[in-house]
């Protein structure tokens, strides 16, 4: 019944040292768990069980509680992100301008079905985001830090073709 880990954990010593430093910095302050999780995710890119275990041990918070917090907040993820992470805004402004179709088209194009969010080769991952605040450009999507606006479904191929390597 355990969740299948899609990608094996391969954290480095450097990452661990950074995490320990972050924990040491926050330990003792009230409500340290969420700030530590933020830092851990920025160090590792995601929050696999190994990372949560280190936090549990060093912050003295039960594993189940950490998992409960991680799964409560959408920004925390236990799955790695793809090399190219696509965020499609499904905020109201974008939605009424058809971003739902764009989202589906991308999923189809990168070959994702069901609930999976990351392609097995780790190249693309996709996420439906809340309003990212670029409503003037609706509908918008982001690929890593790049923002694409005023899109139609037909733009999907063109955008994806930029990320072939």
């Amino acid at each position: 019944m355990n969740k299948q880990e899609t990608v094996a954990f391969n954290g480095t010593k450097e990452q661990e040292a950074k995490l320990m430093e972050a924990i040491a910095r926050h330990k003792g302050t009230d409500g340290a768990l969420i700030p530590v999780l933020h830092e851990a995710q920025s160090i590792y890119g995601y929050l696999p069980i190994e990372v949560q275990a280190m936090i549990s041990k060093n912050l003295d918070v039960p594993m189940a509680e950490i998992y409960g917090v991680v799964t409560f907040y959408t920004q925390f993820t236990t799955e790695p992100k793809g090399k190219y992470h696509i965020g499609v805004c499904l905020g109201t402004a974008c939605y009424v301008k058809g971003s739902g179709d764009i989202f589906n088209k991308i999923k189809e194009k990168i070959g994702l079905t069901g609930d999976s969010t990351c392609t097995p080769d780790g190249k693309f991952s996709i996420e439906a985001t809340r309003c990212i605040g670029a409503c003037g450009l609706a509908p918008v999507l982001t690929v890593n830090d790049e923002v694409y606006g005023k899109l139609t479904v037909d733009d999907v191929d063109r955008i994806l073709s930029k990320y072939t390597d």
């Binding site: 019944m1 069980i49 039960p62 594993m63 189940a64 998992y67 409560f72």
Partner: protein
């Protein structure tokens, strides 16, 4: 206490200022349905069953958490209230696996009761179900989230009272489920298997792992010599399963029922409790004499032992190496008793009826097989025994009292009986240790300073010319507190009794389940403990070392407490376990 006057359904009442509407209503004899509410433990207003109308409030409010204030007008049964409660219940039922007939909690389910009480006659909101799984991997506890109504009582008791936190709310919204980290089985977590979550679950989402099948099978097997033993606390609560008042001792009827079920021998774990005192008491005296590791901490509570292995590995050497009573009993049954009765130990099937779910885990420990066979073959909870009795069609309340079988059973001491209540092991040990240290048979029997339901009890007991410093903790949260104090050098003791469950074994995770409403009114641990102390008081012998069969056992077989043979059969060791 400052009082305020409020009116409920037009009736004016005066209640303490810090009361909630629920407390006020119940004090006035007005019932308000609740589900998530668990007095002092889970007061989160989540389930919304206890909605009431308060004049001037914009929406309905939850009585369980809403404080009263002067002049407040409350209405608990208006049309608006009835409709809202029913809608909440209908919604809850729409996401509940309604296989009531085959549910572990059929006819003892708070949700089922409410459906009847609120007269739910149709289910208008059927729809998708929250994805759920059944975790039946652990030997002790099964979690079936399809039954879960997310009241979170289990989470509260696990995290706040037991300070384990093996389970918590995970995911969110409609997908919220109670679970452990990464949906692991409880077996792969630091769960102590204490079963307190089971005790507080209002529905059938948490129950013990079924142990009945192998027991029925053994009973039907002619080649098996099936021996059953019952823990002290079982007799104090089993009657509740048959409608008897809380705190009614049913020792005689229980023995009769077990005989009627066809067990070849019906023994009393009290005997092994006396044996435990001999071994543990001697261990304590030895450690004091030889400057061994102190404090010595009791090890008869398997929930506590597992908790210690996960959380306090630095205290493993403080744990008494004495096995828990039923395990000792099993080992004696498969050695001394087998020899005496001329039965091949492989044909002996030992069943322990325990107030405990952790005992199921304990019985599976490979190190607990001093004879080459598992000391105990099957562990049933008090609830499971009741199921057996019902399934066999026995009219429990009409059974004529019977006594336990010889050669061990018919003469247990009062010291063994009180093992089932918090402080009982300590008191029993003190009775024996005091006699040994002074070399006299002392008249002092009652050590009331270690009795009672306070979380941590401390006492300095003067024995001979020595001040024996003792402490008693029950509930793992209290255990944690106590050990942290010792770790930090804030306290030190010679001897500590720790029980995993709040109240000790009488309110163990395997005991009959009372609805939260009842538990809010009646102190289960106190009432059930009373039954045990009464039996102790009435007992002919009240000191373990005076038990003639214990003496005989040492004379004929074991030699001396903590001797070579004891060591092999009656002692064990512990191992550090990871937190996840």
């Amino acid at each position: 206490m400052e009082m305020v006057t409020i009116s409920i359904n037009g009736k004016s009442i005066s209640v303490p200022k810090d009361y909630t509407i629920l407390q006020a209503a119940r004090s006035a004899g007005i019932d308000i349905p609740t589900l998530c509410y668990l007095k002092d433990i889970n007061e989160i207003g989540a389930c919304r069953m206890c909605l009431v109308e308060v004049k001037g409030a914009r929406t309905l409010v939850t009585a369980c958490v809403y404080p009263v204030n002067e002049g407040m007008e409350v209405f608990t049964q208006t049309e608006r209230v009835r409709k809202a409660r029913k809608a909440v219940l209908e919604l809850m039922l729409s996401n509940h696996n309604k296989k009531c007939l085959t549910c572990a909690r059929n006819r003892n389910c708070e949700l089922q009761t409410l459906a009847e009480e609120l007269n739910v006659t149709e289910l208008p909101y059927e729809g998708a179900q929250t994805p759920s799984t059944i975790d039946d991997v652990s030997p002790s506890i099964v979690r079936d989230n399809s039954k879960c109504i997310l009241c979170r009582r289990c989470v509260a008791v696990c995290k706040k009272i037991q300070t384990v936190g093996a389970i918590d709310a995970t995911q969110r919204g409609f997908n919220t489920t109670i679970g452990s980290s990464f949906e692991k089985s409880l077996n792969e977590t630091d769960c102590a298997m204490c079963g307190q979550c089971v005790s507080v679950c209002p529905v059938g989402a948490l129950y013990e792992k079924d142990g009945l099948a192998p027991v029925w099978k053994a009973l039907a097997d002619e080649t098996k010599h099936v021996v059953v033993q019952t823990a002290p606390a079982v007799r104090a609560a089993l009657g509740e399963e048959f409608g008897l008042p809380i705190g009614t001792p049913v020792t005689g009827k229980m023995a009769a029922a077990l005989k009627a079920l066809g067990f070849d021998k019906v023994f009393d774990t009290d005997f092994a409790a006396d044996l435990t005192i001999m071994e543990e008491g001697t261990e304590l005296l030895n450690r004091i004499k030889e400057g061994g590791k102190l404090p010595l901490i009791t090890s008869c509570s398997p929930g506590w032992v597992k908790f210690c292995e996960h959380n306090f590995p630095d205290f493993l050497d403080n744990l008494s190496s004495a096995k828990s009573p039923h395990e000792m009993y099993g080992a004696i049954l498969k050695s001394y008793y087998a020899e005496k009765a001329g039965i091949d130990p492989k044909d002996i099937f030992v069943v322990s009826v325990m107030p405990c779910t952790a005992k199921k885990f304990e019985a599976q420990r490979p190190e607990l097989s001093g004879t080459g066979y598992p000391d105990v073959d099957a562990v049933l909870t008090t609830r499971e025994l009741a199921k057996m009795i019902k399934e066999a069609g026995l009219k429990f309340n009409e059974l004529e009292d019977a006594v336990f079988d010889s050669p061990f059973g018919d003469e247990a001491t009062g010291a063994g009986v009180i093992f089932g209540a918090t402080g009982g092991v300590m008191e029993a040990a003190l009775r024996t240790v005091a006699d040994v240290l002074t070399g006299k048979s002392l008249d002092k029997l009652d050590y009331t300073e270690v009795r009672g339901t306070e979380g941590i009890k401390e006492a300095a007991v003067k024995i001979a010319d020595m001040d024996v410093k003792v402490a008693v903790a029950h509930g793992l949260g209290n255990a944690r507190k106590l050990l942290n104090n010792i770790r930090e050098g804030k306290a030190d003791y010679h001897f500590i009794e720790i029980m995993g469950c709040p109240g000790g074994c009488v309110t163990g995770g395997g005991q009959p389940i009372q609805p939260a409403k009842v538990a809010a009114e009646i102190d289960l641990k106190a009432e059930r403990a009373k039954a045990l102390y009464a039996e102790d008081k009435a007992a002919g012998l009240r000191k373990s070392h005076e038990n003639p069969y214990i003496k005989k056992l040492y004379e004929e077989y074991l030699g001396e407490p903590c001797g070579h043979k004891s060591h092999k059969l009656l002692h064990t060791h512990y191992q550090e376990r990871p937190k996840y």
